[in-house]
């Protein structure tokens, strides 16, 4: 059940009194990294011994659990495990406890209603829409007459899990039971059909720290980065983002109010966070303004920069603002100060004329020392590219550790390395998007759009990683929507495929919801992929924690797609 406000007291009591150790299983995305950093800081504060194991998918999760289950009784899952029946998959002992802090929704009903072994960390006002208990589970008394041949002394939760099996044994079923099962199936189908995301785990962890009165400015920054990651990857709606920014804004002013007071201001080396109504251009302060305009999906799609007219329009845009090309192509820090002074307002005005109404976004930035100023989205891009670095042949866990390190302020060299990698990644994405649009690689399959990257495409290795591929798909869909004249195609979702491992002949496929103004970001591709794979017996692997990312063998691709088309039409 929900255990939020009690979590702090609970953990403190259990851990300190019994001196138990905790195993942290952390998924591979920036939100999870930030949540993990906050939790590590809290544990270090209280001297709770823990072990941190990075997991990239379900297989690694199960392996790590099996390796460690004899040594630990308390497991904390960060951004993994909420949307499946964990007890069934992992089969833990009676006295093990699972704490799950996951932003994936919908949360599996078994996890919600289990009140002994599974504890969920959810914010009070997060609306889960969980179906009522009585609609899905039958109490013991009603089951007794039907489960005579079940083993005695089994736990109530096990009886519930086997409920469906009872009815498949061919016994006489009463009308009441049949109706119950029918409605149950419908309710569960409606509940689990769409995948979406709730509050960022980093924000939940920060909330926990705040309740325990152990929150620091550093933890607040990590919570901000976690939220910004959800926004950059388009996982939450605009409204939720703005609401969460408002919540964090209050914390920021609480921690950083000393900067406004002239007399008691802090030294320049202290870390401070500031709220900014900043430009939506990726990495623009660490790049040149021109490059940033070309490589941010929003501007590139609105100005249609893959075409010649698009390039001309960009020149007009810059001329409209009065920014000379030579200045704009220089590094941002070396631009004339007079040009930088009112840059944001100037760009916003001109952008409105060119149809880009949302060029500014509410966000935060961090300062420490004279040289170091970073915006939250900069950190998100840098950390993502460090985590999915293909340049060196390092294992995934090494990249995870590097990315985790880069979030600490002492490791600026790693952060700068991440920023360079992020620039390369963004350039690669934009070039791939431009080539896909120009060569009409995005085709409509009926209920969805489909695009497949060929093997010899430049930088295709970069897109064998899930987060990069998702980013590419979202940018591609945005650009496609701006480029196409077909009104119906503008409302379709996109399925994107890229070669994953040439030797093993696998392909990674990603499905994203349609690009609509008031989209609720709910993704039905998870279940659709599952059903299509079942019906065609394709050899698929659902390894990622996001259900809408799937790996399959290249040979099975066409029949899988056909099944998907027929399923969704």
């Amino acid at each position: 059940m929900y255990q939020h406000t009690l979590f702090g007291a609970y953990i403190n009591a259990i851990i300190l009194l019994l001196l138990q150790r905790v195993l942290l299983l952390v998924a591979s995305d920036v939100d999870a990294l930030c949540a993990c950093k906050i939790l590590q800081a809290l544990f270090q504060c209280d001297h709770v011994q823990y072990t941190l194991v990075p997991v990239a998918g379900w297989q690694e999760l199960e392996t790590a659990f099996l390796e460690h289950k004899d040594q630990f009784k308390y497991f904390v899952f960060i951004n993994c495990g909420a949307n499946v029946d964990l007890l069934e998959i992992l089969q833990p002992e009676e006295d093990t406890f699972f704490f799950i802090c996951d932003s994936h929704r919908p949360i599996n009903v078994v996890n919600v209603y289990n009140d002994t072994q599974i504890k969920l960390l959810v914010k009070q006002d997060d609306d889960l829409d969980v179906p009522a208990y009585d609609d899905i589970f039958r109490d013991e008394e009603d089951e007794e007459e039907d489960s005579e041949d079940e083993s005695d002394g089994s736990e109530p939760s096990e009886k519930r899990r086997r409920f469906e099996e009872v009815c498949c044994t061919g016994r006489k079923v009463t009308l009441q039971m049949w109706l119950f099962l029918h409605f149950r199936r419908e309710i569960l189908f409606d509940y689990e059909q769409y995948e979406y995301h709730g509050t960022s785990s980093a924000m939940v962890m920060f909330d926990l720290a705040w309740i325990m009165s152990k929150d620091l400015n550093d933890m607040l920054w990590w919570a901000i980065v976690g939220l910004t990651d959800q926004w950059v990857q388009d996982k939450i709606t605009q409204m939720k983002y703005v609401t969460d920014i408002g919540i964090l804004q209050r914390h920021v002013s609480r921690h950083n109010h000393r900067n406004e007071d002239e007399e008691n201001s802090l030294s320049i080396d202290c870390m401070r966070i500031a709220f900014e109504y900043d430009l939506r251009l990726a990495l623009y302060q660490h790049w040149s303004l021109y490059e940033s305009l070309c490589n941010t999906s929003y501007t590139s799609a609105s100005l249609k920069l893959w075409s010649v007219q698009g390039q001309k329009r960009l020149q007009e845009f810059l001329a409209d603002m009065g920014l000379p090309l030579k200045q704009v192509k220089q590094k941002f820090n070396s631009m004339d100060v007079s040009l930088k002074e009112n840059l944001r307002e100037m760009i916003e005005e001109s952008a409105n004329k060119f149809g880009m109404k949302d060029l500014r976004v509410q966000t935060f930035s961090i300062h420490f020392g004279f040289k170091n100023k970073f915006s939250a989205s900069d950190i998100v891009y840098a950390t993502t590219s460090l985590m999915e670095n293909i340049e060196k042949e390092d294992s995934e866990t090494t990249n995870f550790i590097k990315a985790l390190d880069s979030l600490s302020r002492g490791n600026l060299d790693k952060l700068h390395q991440g920023l360079d990698l992020a620039k390369k990644q963004l350039r690669a994405i934009q070039q791939t998007v431009a080539s896909c649009i120009c060569t009409n690689l995005v085709i409509s399959q009926g209920p969805f759009l489909y695009c497949s990257l060929m093997e010899g495409t430049p930088d295709v290795k970069l897109f064998s990683k899930p987060v990069s591929l998702c980013l590419l798909s979202k940018y591609l869909l945005k650009s496609f929507v701006c480029s196409t004249k077909n009104k119906r195609c503008k409302l379709l979702p996109l399925v994107m495929a890229a070669p994953m491992d040439v030797e093993q002949g696998t392909v990674i496929m990603v499905g994203i919801p349609p690009e609509v103004e008031s989209s609720d970001k709910k993704n039905f591709f998870g279940r659709a992929f599952e059903k299509a794979a079942e019906s065609t017996n394709s050899r698929t692997l659902h390894n990622h924690f996001e259900m809408s990312i799937i790996e399959l063998k290249t040979e099975d691709r066409s029949k899988f797609l056909d099944a998907l088309i027929s399923l969704l039409s």
């Binding site: 590590q40 270090q44 011994q49 823990y50 072990t51 941190l52 550790i401």
Partner: protein, 195 residues
């Protein structure tokens, strides 16, 4: 002749910097001692001759005597420096030395090491009340009770005194009491993470 082999031994030790213990050169030692014995015998012969009249041999005797002293000095320096290094190993590695290092020590050096261990243990037990005080822990003042460590290679299971085991896999991070990790940090299996 002029204590070259002895000098060679000293040079070898000088080159092996950083407390590293090279293998014990039994052969060269034997040759140097052989040289000393040969010089001594010749000196003996010449002394008796010099006593019976031939005073021009005195310089030669003197020269040989200086060579003998130089040999002695080189060999003693070699042996003593090795003992100092072995003593430092006790503080660095603990009471059980890795096999590779034990291989480099001669039998007498092993004997000396054992006796040193015993005398250190007796001293440590006498200090600090009933249980004694382990002086080889915390050579630098520790900043915190618990430290964050990262595993650099797959080390398998690691058992601690209270019976619990930790699985050390590459790239896993752990938050453990300082005294449990110090050994492994010195061996290079774990790395202290400063955040």
């Amino acid at each position: 002749m002029a204590a070259e082999r002895g000098l060679e031994l000293v040079r070898e030790l000088h080159r092996a910097a950083g407390g590293h213990l090279p293998p014990f050169r039994t052969e060269e030692m034997r040759q140097a001692l052989e040289e000393m014995r040969a010089l001594y015998e010749r000196n003996q012969a010449d002394v008796s001759e010099a006593k019976s009249g031939r005073t021009d041999l005195i310089f030669l005797i003197r020269f040989r005597h200086c060579c003998l002293l130089r040999n002695q000095r080189c060999l003693l320096a070699y042996l003593y420096d090795r003992l100092l290094r072995i003593r430092a190993l006790r503080w660095e590695y603990g009471s059980v030395l890795p096999n590779t290092i034990q291989f480099h020590m001669s039998a007498e050096e092993v004997e000396w090491f054992n006796r040193y261990k015993k005398s250190l243990a007796t001293y440590m037990r006498s200090v600090g009340g009933e249980e004694g005080l382990d002086l080889t822990q915390d050579i630098k003042p520790p900043k915190s009770l618990y430290i964050e460590v990262r595993c650099l290679k797959d080390h398998g299971e690691f058992e601690i005194d209270d019976g619990t085991t930790i699985l050390l896999k590459k790239n896993s991070q752990h938050f453990l009491p300082r005294w449990k990790c110090e050994q492994l940090i010195r061996q290079g299996v774990l790395e202290h993470v400063l955040s």
